[in-house]
């Protein structure tokens, strides 16, 4: 009887799993086919395809950029720049890598460029402070709160983002893509144009450096 029930239940369960597997595979296939179709249409200059691309990828692009530049206004400006570049240079996309990989690369490059500009501005503000009339700084960095972090973790996440700014760029990118974008090491390796083991090493070093930075921060805080 028991065996009978077991058999009777096994059939539908396996069936459901198989159905789920095939439906997910089918959906993924449709998404990929749609994506390829959309890109082809965009390359032919169809504006509706561009709208669909923006709808599909805006969150991914914005989320990546905001985690790097840590400023909502800048992140939105750079997101716009990324899509403008996509529209203007989609003809150069050959399809060797995934479209999302290409988008990630553009987003990261633009975000890092913006960071460099910001640092230059900061240096200039410092010089202005030295030679300025009022002797006041004109560059005021603001505390960053990622909009996706839950309320209970806001303070701790703020401290983590502050520490993230102090570690080398490629470690920061690897950590951001892994922890915030939730990508696996293979995907990160493809985006960063490096090997799986290099990503593993980058993530390990990022974690070590972050721990160091956070330790310094908490030690100073406890002294105060």
């Amino acid at each position: 009887m028991v065996r009978g029930i077991g058999k009777a239940q096994a059939g539908p369960v396996v069936g459901i799993h198989l159905f789920n597997y095939f439906s997910i595979a089918k959906k993924w296939n449709i998404v990929q086919q749609n994506e390829a179709g959309l890109i082809k249409k965009l390359q032919e200059g169809e504006h509706l395809a561009f709208k669909s691309i923006v709808d599909l990828y805006q969150d991914m692009v914005y989320n990546t950029i905001i985690s790097i530049v840590q400023n909502e206004q800048d992140a939105e400006d750079i997101t716009q720049e990324v899509f403008v570049q996509v529209y203007q240079s989609v003809s150069s996309f050959k399809g060797d890598a995934k479209f999302s990989t290409w988008l990630y690369r553009i987003s990261i490059t633009k975000a890092l460029d913006s960071e460099k500009r910001k640092k230059r501005k900061k240096r200039f503000a410092f010089i202005q402070k030295l030679f300025g009339e009022n002797g006041e700084t004109q560059y005021h960095p603001v505390e960053f709160n990622h909009p996706g972090v839950i309320l209970d973790n806001k303070e701790k996440a703020g401290e983590l983002f502050k520490a993230l700014q102090k570690i080398p760029g490629n470690q920061r990118i690897a950590f951001t893509l892994s922890k915030i974008e939730g990508l696996n090491n293979n995907e990160i390796a493809e985006i960063m144009n490096t090997s799986f083991y290099a990503v593993e090493s980058l993530l390990a070093r990022a974690k070590t450096n972050l721990k160091k930075e956070l330790k310094n921060y908490y030690e100073q805080k406890s002294v105060k």
Partner: protein, 110 residues
């Protein structure tokens, strides 16, 4: 001291895990409209592109230097050619006089 170290380690772990389960941040609505506006702003005519290129400081300075170099070159060339002409005239002056005297002499002979 030991307790403080433990506390710091705990805080570090909490900070590192604070982004676990983070939700994706989304841009403000109507992003496409703003992108389209930016695209339209960038769609310049060829004349606007040429004007923008010429008005770049580097191009302007290079252009000014080129004009100055051409002017200096022309001035130098003119002074050297005018010197040559003067020298040639003064050299020719004697021969012309001889020619004139010869010609006058030949006239007198008639």
């Amino acid at each position: 001291m030991m307790k403080n170290d433990k506390n710091i380690q705990l805080q570090i772990e909490e900070a590192l895990n604070s982004v676990d389960g983070i939700k994706k941040a989304a841009p403000r609505p109507y992003l496409l409209t703003r992108i389209n506006a930016r695209l339209n702003r960038q769609a310049k005519t060829n004349w606007e592109k040429a004007a923008a290129f010429i008005s770049r400081p580097v191009v302007m300075v290079a252009g000014l230097c080129l004009v100055l170099a051409i002017n200096i070159g022309v001035v130098l060339l003119n002074t050297s050619t005018s010197k040559n002409i003067v020298a040639e005239r003064s050299a020719n002056a004697g021969t012309d006089e001889d020619y004139n005297t010869i010609s006058f002499a030949s006239i007198d002979n008639y």
